[in-house]
Amino acid sequence: MTERSMAEALNWALGEILAADERTFVLGEDVEAGGVFRVTQGLADRFGRGRVVDTPLAESGFVGAAIGASLAGMRPIVEVQFIDFILPAVNQLISEAAKMRYRSQSDWTVPLVVRTPFGGGVHGGLYHSQSFEALFGHVPGLKVVVPSTPSDAAALLAAAVADPDPVLLLEHKRMYRLFKEEMPDTLACADLGRAVVRREGDDVTVFAYGLMTHETLQAAETLADEGVSCHVVDLRSIAPLDTQAIVDGAQRTGKVLIVHEDHLTGGIGAEVAAIVAREAFDYLDAPVTRIGGPDVPAMGYHPALESAFMPNHETIATVARQLAAY
């Protein structure tokens, strides 16, 4: 067992993966030097610059190249330095990667992994704080997963690499070094499409993912002192959503709150709410409620603007408290 932060867990997992499968390789901006978050630290020294490849500042180009490499039988693990920079590669991901299997009737698949940090809370300003899970989660043919713990990050990475289809692994940048977790020294392979119950409760169910999982768990602690027990479900998989876990969680309490940092309107919470409203209708005891980032064009750079944007354990507790009392 070793204590690792999420960044360390990913670094370790990449090492295990590169060592185990010579088809795998890492590419992205500054990955040879270790990457801006040091997730690829030491890998170039260990595996050589043929397996850990610095790319130019050209996301469309290197994601496209990775798609090509995957079609040629390799297993590329792309790092997009910040999800904010993935936008030039959207055409490659949506028009090419997502559709390849469908359009070739499974003759060709794209076993691509794109790992990328998302989310705010690090004074990243407009272009280092965004969330795009709803954008990609809305595209059939792409899988999107969001770990909340170091062990999940490693296990989801392993599963993503093993998956024959494109997977986006979204890592919340504020969680890279937020806490350490004791992890086994053998790499597990997660179930890609499964949510995880992080806390059992009977008064209100909260669905969250990424950093919001932790804010929710903190809110749950506060509420527990007030006699309100929260059932916290870490969605973990944005596409596909774990519908069974969503329905089970909703039925448990009848009072559902969905929390994400991404803008409220059209965020993935809306899809979860729709699933709940339809599949768990007869178990609902309160209106299905969401908390999301505001529908403003960006998370500001000023600390006050940033913290006004991000949902936190206090705002989550406030809404969960109301819902429990409904």
Binding site: G254, L264, T265, F281, D282, Y283, L284, D285, A286, P287, T289, R290, I291, G292, G293, P294, D295, V296, G300, P303, A304, L305, S307, A308, F309, M310, P311, N312, E314, T315, T318, V319, Q322, L323, A325, Y326
Partner: protein, 433 residues
């Protein structure tokens, strides 16, 4: 029809005080309405001319139903008064059901209401919707609708959610309320009974007035949910009888009301409750809450049935003040002029059944309280005084009925004895002021 009480769902129009064509001023009494709890005059929420009466005298309509139309109203709504009725429960503002506005200063959107945060304040943590209810407005709307979970559970178990006391927002019945009710009552207890035999000639179906229906429902709930236990003590009241006889004429002259034994009993009760706070508790859902205020309900018999107006903070009143308060409440109760806050908030009930001549009574507890005390008829009896001498003394039985979930016989008896001791300590030297 305004919301005249949290659990009131309908009202009966007794008398229109204005006729179509008459002008009515703002707040002028418009119509007299009877509900399960109180009879009230509704003041007009608008100034203008009464153009149409929509509910004739004698008709019963649900809360929220339009009662009348007034021309020249400043507001655009019909006369379903939000401002009407003395001390009505205030309706919550309807929360905007739409999603929060997308415009820039709309930080942290919590559906369905935007969280007002001041962006200039560092980490404005208390930026949450304050008392905002989620979804629809409570009260009016929530009393009469049931969530899918409630409806499903109720249907599965054959129980009517309308008779369950709601602990949710606006008094709504929650899923947990249904689950609690199911735990309390065995399944099938609410199955409809077999059809009754056809009435014979001369038989008459008894129609229940709203008050009677309400009493029936509350008695059923009390009997069903509360494990009642009962005890009695005999109180030697010769001192109390003597004091009252000595004071009554003067008291009547000074205060205009009769001095009875009841205010002394209420006084003894409030003082004894200070030592036995568990009996001054009320149920709030699954929680038992010991109340700080001692609000004593006093049972009053009226032509419509039993009413229990409440003397708030009764421990702060002297015997004289209690006598005046009791008289006021009783006469207003009989004249059907009680206000809503006269009947709410009680923490303990005293019932002077003695006026009916009884020597022992087993009343039902006034839910959600946990005890009720009766004072029976004062009778002259031979009693043993000293070691073995016999004297004729005035004796009054006092009974205590209590919720056995909350405490046991020893505590209940100790309380009853405390009341007894205080009443027996009354003598011609006791002051009533």
């Amino acid at each position: 029809m305004p919301q005249l009480g949290e659990s009131v769902t309908e009202g009966t129009v007794l008398q229109w005080l204005k006729q179509p064509g008459e002008t009515v001023a703002l707040d002028e009494p418009l119509v007299e309405v009877e509900t399960e709890k109180v009879t009230v005059e509704i003041p007009s929420p608008f100034e203008g001319t009464l153009s149409a009466i929509l509910v004739p005298e004698g008709d019963t309509v649900p809360v929220g139903a339009p009662l009348a139309e007034i021309d020249g109203a400043a507001a655009t709504q019909a006369a379903e008064a939000e401002s009407a009725a003395p001390a009505p429960r205030r309706e919550e503002e309807a929360a905007p059901a739409a999603e929060p506005p997308p415009a820039p200063p709309a930080p942290r959107a919590a559906e369905p209401r935007a969280v007002p945060a001041d962006p200039a304040a560092p980490a404005s943590r208390d930026a949450a919707p304050a008392a905002a209810e989620l979804g629809r407005p409570p009260g009016l709307y929530q009393k009469r609708r049931f969530s899918p979970a409630v409806a499903r559970l109720a249907a599965e178990h054959g129980i009517d959610p309308a008779v369950i006391e709601g602990s949710g927002a606006g008094g709504r019945v929650t899923r947990k309320d249904v689950e609690a009710a199911l735990r309390a009552a065995p399944a099938g207890a609410a199955r409809p009974s077999a059809p009754a035999p056809a009435p014979a000639a001369g038989d008459q179906v008894v129609t229940f007035s709203p008050t009677r229906r309400r009493i029936a429902q509350r008695m059923t709930q009390s009997a069903r949910e509360v494990p009642h236990a009962w005890l009695m003590v005999e109180v030697d009241v010769h001192g109390l009888v003597g004091l009252r006889a000595a004071l009554r004429d003067d008291f009547r002259a000074r205060h205009g009301v009769d001095l009875t034994y009841l205010p002394f009993a209420v006084k003894a009760v409030t003082q004894s409750l200070a030592d036995f706070p568990i009996l001054n508790a009320t149920w709030s859902g699954d929680d038992l809450v010991q109340r700080a205020s001692r609000n004593i309900g006093v049972a009053v018999d009226t032509p419509e049935g039993l009413v229990v107006p409440v003397i708030g903070e009764a421990d702060r009143l002297t015997v004289s003040a209690l006598a005046v308060a009791i008289d006021d409440l009783a006469s207003r109760a009989r004249a059907r002029k009680l206000r809503l806050d006269d009947v709410e908030g009680g923490t303990f009930t005293v019932d002077n059944t003695g006026v009916f001549g009884t020597s022992a009574t087993g009343p039902l507890i006034n839910h959600p309280q946990v005890a009720i005390l009766t004072t029976e008829a004062v009778t002259k009896r031979p009693v043993v005084v000293g070691d073995d001498a016999i004297a004729v003394r005035s004796v009054m039985n006092v009974t205590l009925t209590f919720d056995h979930r909350v405490t046991d016989g020893s505590t209940a008896a100790a309380f009853a004895r405390a009341v007894k001791d205080r009443l027996e300590a009354v003598d011609p030297g006791t002051s009533v002021d």
